[in-house]
């Protein structure tokens, strides 16, 4: 789960990483009163879960509360790379002397947390890594050993920070970032830029924070941060119904059982010349209620013109799955053409059950590729 800048900063604040004072606003009026409360110059920042906010006009420096209101009116409703701005973070403006970059990521390959630090902050870190790899200091943390202060020193001295007070402040932030990473089960904690003000104060001017979905059960306060308005409505419905669903942009609705087979099904639809409307994993089984829930989500998408069930019967036998599908279809009134491909344990029995039901819109295909082609034709 990705957090907004202001939510990430709230978690930074909880572990003691310095951030500027700010307020959340969802209307121009709220932006005005937030700016008035904070006093002085403020930055009006669009809260969206994507990069490139500045270039898209989503970040503006306002001289006073009046101007903050004007900018808020401009930015609210703005579409930034497909993300509509509904929330603003109004923050006390910070003077910037230098911009650094600090992050701690979950390195899957090495199976360790990875620190990255450079004094060339404020820009895309992949560019820094490409153009001047020597300027980027990378350091892994042993998951069992945890963080030790020498690691902060390695980063700070390694990147060439020379000013003593800066060294000390950054080293402290490095340790606290590890606290945040571990405490909130983060997959990513990034501060870009980490700034130094003209008076020598170091603070986090931005935050990028991703929390492991599988760990949300032990972080109720983070789980509540999810912005349901920003989620695709179909994906929100799927979440509510505990259906594993990802919206894609095509006409063939896809249901498979198991994550790998479902991914493979989406691929095969594409190879057959069609466009999958979604990814949907029914799980290992295929009970009627699960099928009903999944179909409700999939058919809510107005682009869907045909449905492709791709089921492999293992422990859950194909005849049971076939009955589940028929029961589900009986409970719903679906007119869309449906292609079902059943294979595995008791496949013949399952196909017979479906064929005998002889619903006009239901077709049974024996192989995955043939079924995919059929579904693509029907969706055309």
């Amino acid at each position: 789960m990705d957090l907004y800048e202001y939510q990430g900063k709230e978690l930074f604040r909880q572990v003691g990483i310095p951030v500027a004072d700010g307020r959340l606003a969802t209307t121009p009026e709220e932006a005005r009163s937030a700016a008035a409360e904070l006093g002085g110059r403020v930055v009006v920042k669009a809260q969206v879960l994507t990069g490139g906010r500045g270039k898209a006009g989503g970040i503006k420096l306002a001289a006073d509360a009046d101007e903050a209101e004007v900018y808020a009116r401009e930015i609210l409703g703005l579409d930034i790379r497909g993300h509509v701005v509904r929330r603003l973070w109004i923050e006390q403006a910070s003077d910037i002397e230098r911009e650094y970059y600090l992050s701690l990521t979950f390195d899957r390959g090495e199976k360790k947390p990875l620190y990255m630090f450079t004094t060339q902050g404020g820009m895309d870190i992949e560019q820094v890594a490409q153009k001047s790899p020597g300027a980027l200091v990378r350091l892994h943390v042993d998951p069992l050993e945890g963080f030790n202060p020498w690691q902060a020193r390695r980063l700070v001295y390694g990147a060439g920070v020379t000013e003593a007070s800066e060294q000390k402040q950054i080293a402290s932030i490095v340790g606290k970032l590890h606290d945040a990473f571990v405490r909130f089960d983060a997959m990513l904690c990034e501060i870009n830029p980490l700034i130094v003000t003209p008076t020598g104060e170091v603070k986090a001017l931005d935050s990028k924070f991703t929390v492991d979905d599988n760990a949300l059960y032990r972080h109720a306060e983070v789980a509540e941060m999810r912005d349901l308005d920003a989620t695709d409505p179909l994906e929100a419905l799927a979440r509510e119904k505990h259906v594993t669903y990802v919206k894609l942009d095509g006409e063939v609705g896809v249901l498979g059982n198991g994550a790998g087979l479902s991914m493979s099904t989406v691929d095969v639809v594409t190879f057959a010349g069609g466009r999958p409307a979604n990814f949907c994993d029914l799980g290992g089984g295929g009970d009627a209620q699960g099928v009903v829930d999944a179909l409700e989500v999939i058919t809510r998408d107005p682009q869907v013109r045909a449905i492709f069930f791709n089921i492999f019967g293992g422990i859950t036998r194909c005849d049971e799955v076939a009955r589940g599908i028929l029961q589900a279809l009986g409970e719903m009134s679906l007119e869309l053409p449906i292609v079902v491909r059943l294979d595995g344990t008791n496949a013949e029995e399952g196909r017979r059950i479906l064929a005998e039901a002889a619903a006009a819109n239901l077709r049974v295909s024996p192989t995955m590729l043939e079924a995919a082609k059929r579904a693509v034709e029907l969706a055309a």
């Binding site: 069992l144 032990r218 990802v246 994550a259 790998g260 991914m263 095969v268 990814f279």
Partner: protein, 289 residues
């Protein structure tokens, strides 16, 4: 021989008294796996269809000679259960549980390796050596004994490919699900090494998917250290970046972990990659001719 599970396996099921643990534990026993005990803290002294239930894994090891543990414990308690099994002295831990936090797995991964214990999963279907033993949730009925080793991050996709092999008259030495999470106990390379050393395995099918770089590492390993032929399949060519596709580990982060990159890495090392599960099974069949 086969790998990981065989006739020497003496299984303890952590969570045998839960509905899933009971269902699959007893299925494994019915297949012929030696199921020696179940563990559910607080339920020691009970039994599940004649299988003694104990309070600790240590008792299962000391009193019943358990050497392999299957974990069916719910995610919030699963990490603790895995540590318990490692410390009790089993040589193999197979964690079926889905939803264990990734940070827990970082620590478990380091811990299990340091102790020389083999781990599969979490979020995996287990391992099946046809005709010898089944530990996990793989439907054993669709597989037959043979010489093809199968290793995969996915369950049903593996069953699909294995089923197609069976229909072509080809069997498997061992079918191994390593799990769909970002960090799992054994990597593709770990399992490939076991297959390379296993006299009963002559060919290998590797089934990968988007996310991470384990397929790329496997490609390098196969090219430099394996003499047995390998074919592969990758799922997720049409997956959008940043979206978790069913498995917690199946996610393209930025531009890393795409199916295209994995396919190219494998092909660059001389490994053929099927475009569909059916084509992959056919490629495997070609190897055997």
């Amino acid at each position: 021989m086969a790998i990981l599970v065989d006739t020497e396996t003496r299984l303890v099921v952590q969570g045998l008294t839960g509905s899933e643990g009971r269902f699959h534990g007893l299925r494994n026993r019915a297949y012929g796996t030696t199921l020696v005990a179940g563990v559910t803290p607080g339920k020691g002294g009970q039994d599940v269809e004649g299988v003694p239930v104990l309070d600790t894994v240590a008792q299962a090891v000391e009193e019943h000679g358990a050497n392999t543990s299957m974990v069916f414990v719910p995610a919030p308690f699963a990490a603790d259960a895995v540590y318990e099994a490692i410390d009790a002295g089993v040589h193999t831990v197979i964690a079926i549980t889905e939803g264990i936090p990734a940070h827990d797995m970082l620590r478990i991964h380091a811990y299990v390796r340091a102790r020389g214990v083999r781990m599969l999963g979490p979020n995996c279907p287990g391992a099946l050596s046809p005709g010898k033993a089944n530990v996990g949730i793989i439907p054993a009925e669709i597989f037959t004994p043979g010489s093809i080793g199968l290793v995969s991050r996915s369950g049903t996709l593996t069953y699909q490919i294995g089923h197609e092999l069976t229909q072509m008259g080809l069997g498997n030495s061992t079918i191994v699900g390593i799990g769909g999470d970002p960090v799992v106990g054994s990597s593709f390379v770990d399992i490939l090494r076991l297959f390379q050393d296993d006299p009963e395995t002559e060919y290998v099918v590797l089934v990968g998917e988007i996310g991470g770089d384990e397929e790329e590492k496997a490609a390098t390993f196969i090219e430099s250290e394996m003499t047995k032929p390998v074919v592969a399949y990758i799922a997720g060519f049409t997956a959008p970046p940043g979206k978790t596709m069913g498995h917690a580990g199946a996610i393209i982060s930025g531009s890393a972990g795409t199916a295209v990159a994995k396919k190219e890495a494998l092909e660059a090392c001389g490994i053929r990659v099927g475009t569909t599960p059916t084509e992959t099974a056919e490629l495997a069949a070609e190897l055997t001719r």
